[in-house]
Symmetry: C2
Subunit: 457 residues, 2 copies
């Protein structure tokens, strides 16, 4: 009843923005996770913060839940609509609203994707460093507190967002933060919304801190027969404070997968990808140090990519590893999960997990942003194979328990979404009560992002 | 009535921790700000999180407000107790609880001061980079979202705290964050508490990210006849991405003050202090670039401090500038205020403010962490001079309006405290409603940090 009334009201106010076709509903029913699909009641495509405010006010009036859809690249089901909810698709809010090269900041609409943003600011010698691999929307990256390959040098979304415009459950438009590099003015609502997975407010515009494109970049790869020595190299590089821009692990099965998918001829072994940014002299200093350490530890196939084309191919391979894992088996789904542990625990955590994978009989490449202590499993599950699904679930649970026992977190960058609610509680204990209090005080009707983070449906 | 009952209960439970002497009350009635003093009903010195929890539970039971006292170095009255409140002095909670050199993190009690922490971890080759000048407590630095001279390279408290233990208004102990370098697990309560100025919870333990002591440091000073050229140099250095660790402005009156106070013989002119961290080669590269730019712009007295003793003396002078300003006039109070603006607006903001100062007839040295767009006025007010106080108030208001109009913030690092509530509202508009909702949902009796940030007394 309320649904019909809402849809009529939306149709009347936004005749060109509402879609109810089977195709649109299907297209918005899932994301890149393994979680079951769920169709929304309709999809609406706002073009401005004011649109979002008007839509939220109507949903609030008629008690209809709102699910936010960015680029659909979330991996814990964050984009999957709650039952009987309206899907608000942010993709038409994809404008770079302002660019301030002198201040190295910009203001974007939430639906702009990171690759499109980078394409638009490149001419100014600027780039946005947070890089989760997928071509996610900036709003979605805020919502899940995304990070990725560059975080070891440039930080996560938490460190690169200066301010937000957002719409609360009742349609109120709020501004958080601003354009100053730092502020002690009131509660840090920006950080509260970052990582709130659509449950506290709908992020519509974002003020981002940008970086100057590095003068030079260099990429090195090195391979190891065993993961223990490989993680020891990472540890030594970090201990020495060598200012790497990225350090990525792809284990042997991951290399096999990307070789096949991206038509590369990498030696199939556990591999580290390093990237260095800076002046030629500075890079030279860093790379010499890393090469020396690598060789001392018995690393093999140490090599430099100096041509831009080679660098692009390597990073494209790294970025496509999820799709590469999917492609290893026809008719399969990839359950991707991640944890993050203190650096000193990383080696043990990876080794024990590697053993678990071998015992499980599953194919589960390990990839990781190891400079932060963060790594992922890409568990390949043949569709319809209940036993493999069960094994994957056990593997995931073991991984998370191990990470928590080591002082780590149940997710370094994927978020809680639909998949990690149990471990949110295990990780945070009594502070869950504070999170729930905040949630219910800001969204008493539980209309926003319902089903994500908390079991409040 | 409640007060007596509470004090009796506290005396019975914590006979050795409660103080009610005139001296103790007086000692806890003020901070380093110009704001009027206010004595608490008593002072209690907890030694553990459990003590704090027990104390808070009793205050909650008897409806007595709690004011938190760290090192008393706040500059917007944050440490000044609310009327009829119990002062919880954290100074006996000053233990380094755990140090993890491999992970470059540590866990401290909130009352530990930053200098004491740095003294204790130095042997491990580590340091905690956030440096607001004063020897503040780590808990107080969290509460005000402090930053300071190193923020341009290492970030503010927001970027250097991994997790917290805190006690809510009713005595509940919560843990936020953890030891992983990054996490997407639930709401970022750590960031919410950082900068909440004692209004949401009592921070008792902090997990800090540490840094390796740089291989080498170099300090350069350069002087300018006019502030415009000086700020242009800062702007150019930042635009070129030269990775400075600190860049501090002391204008001519500030130099005069520190010369006198610290017995230095610096040429009395507008001065920039630069610091560089890294390998000798890397530092050489940076310093050569900065020297070249400085000379091109007509900077004078460009000089290097290479001896550790000289470096220490220079930074000590910078750190003591507040006390130096106070010492310029016997029987005076210094009203220190700060703003932060986008870098592109910094020159204009400083120049216009400089003109305001000259028109006001006040002595008000300008010092700034200019690499972040952040600067301070140290307005010297003869005690009892109502006209000077009035002029200072006008100067402060003009400064803040200017910063806000330029897209900046009413405080870069001092916090709102008792002094900037009006501008919190001007700066944040409708999001103040969200802040107040959070405050009242987490502390419905308004017992914590009463009088700070909001006018809810």
């Amino acid at each position: 009843m309320n649904t019909t009334t809402l849809l009529n009201a939306l149709l009347s106010q936004f005749p060109k923005l509402l879609e109810q076709s089977k195709h649109a509903l299907e297209q918005h029913s899932g994301d890149e996770s393994w979680h079951p699909k769920q169709q929304p009641i309709a999809v609406i495509y706002p073009t401005s913060t004011q649109d979002v405010s008007d839509i939220a006010a109507l949903c609030h009036q008629y008690n209809i839940a709102m699910s936010i859809f960015g680029a659909g690249t979330s991996v814990e089901g964050q984009s999957i609509p709650a039952p009987d909810s309206l899907c608000i698709d942010m993709s038409r809010m994809d404008t770079l609203l302002a660019l301030h090269p002198d201040d190295q900041d910009c203001i974007v609409q939430a639906g702009l994707t990171r690759l499109e943003l980078n394409a638009q600011i490149k001419d100014q010698g600027l780039f946005f460093p947070v890089d989760p691999g997928a071509n996610a929307s900036i709003g979605g990256m805020c919502a899940t507190r995304a990070s990725g390959t560059n975080a070891v040098k440039y930080g996560t979304m938490k460190h690169n967002v200066l301010g937000l415009t957002a719409v609360t459950a009742d349609g109120t438009i709020i501004q958080t933060g601003g354009r100053a590099r730092k502020s002690s003015s009131g509660y840090d609502l920006t950080s509260l919304l970052i990582g709130s997975e659509g449950t506290l407010a709908i992020i519509t515009e974002i003020t981002l801190r940008l970086q100057g494109i590095p003068e030079n970049t260099a990429i090195a790869t090195v391979q190891f027969q065993n993961l223990e020595t490989l993680t020891l190299l990472v540890f030594q590089v970090l201990q020495l404070g060598i200012p790497i821009a990225r350090v990525e692990l792809l284990d042997k099965p991951a290399i096999t997968a990307v070789n096949h998918y991206a038509k590369l001829q990498l030696q199939e072994n556990h591999t580290l990808f390093f990237e260095f940014h800076g002046s030629l002299q500075y890079i030279q200093e860093q790379t010499t140090a890393v090469e020396k350490l690598s060789l001392e530890l018995g690393g093999s196939h140490f090599s430099w990519a100096t041509q831009q084309e080679d660098k692009n191919r390597l990073w494209k391979a790294r970025h496509n590893v999820l799709y590469a894992a999917k492609a290893t088996l026809p008719n399969s789904t990839v359950w991707t999960t991640d944890v993050c542990v203190p650096i000193s625990a990383l080696a043990q955590c990876i080794l024990d997990t590697h053993e678990d994978i071998q015992n499980s009989g599953l194919l589960a490449p390990i990839v990781g942003h190891v400079g932060d202590g963060n790594f992922h499993l890409l568990i390949v599950i043949p569709n319809g194979d209940a036993n493999a699904q069960q094994q994957a679930s056990i593997l995931n649970e073991k991984l998370i328990h191990r990470a928590l026992a080591m002082g780590g977190t149940c997710t370094g960058e994927h978020g809680i979404g639909k998949g990690k609610k149990r471990w949110l509680i295990e990780e945070h204990g009594s502070s869950i009560g504070i999170m729930k209090t905040i949630k219910s005080s800001l969204d008493p009707k539980n209309l926003l992002g319902r089903g994500n983070i908390f079991s409040l449906e």
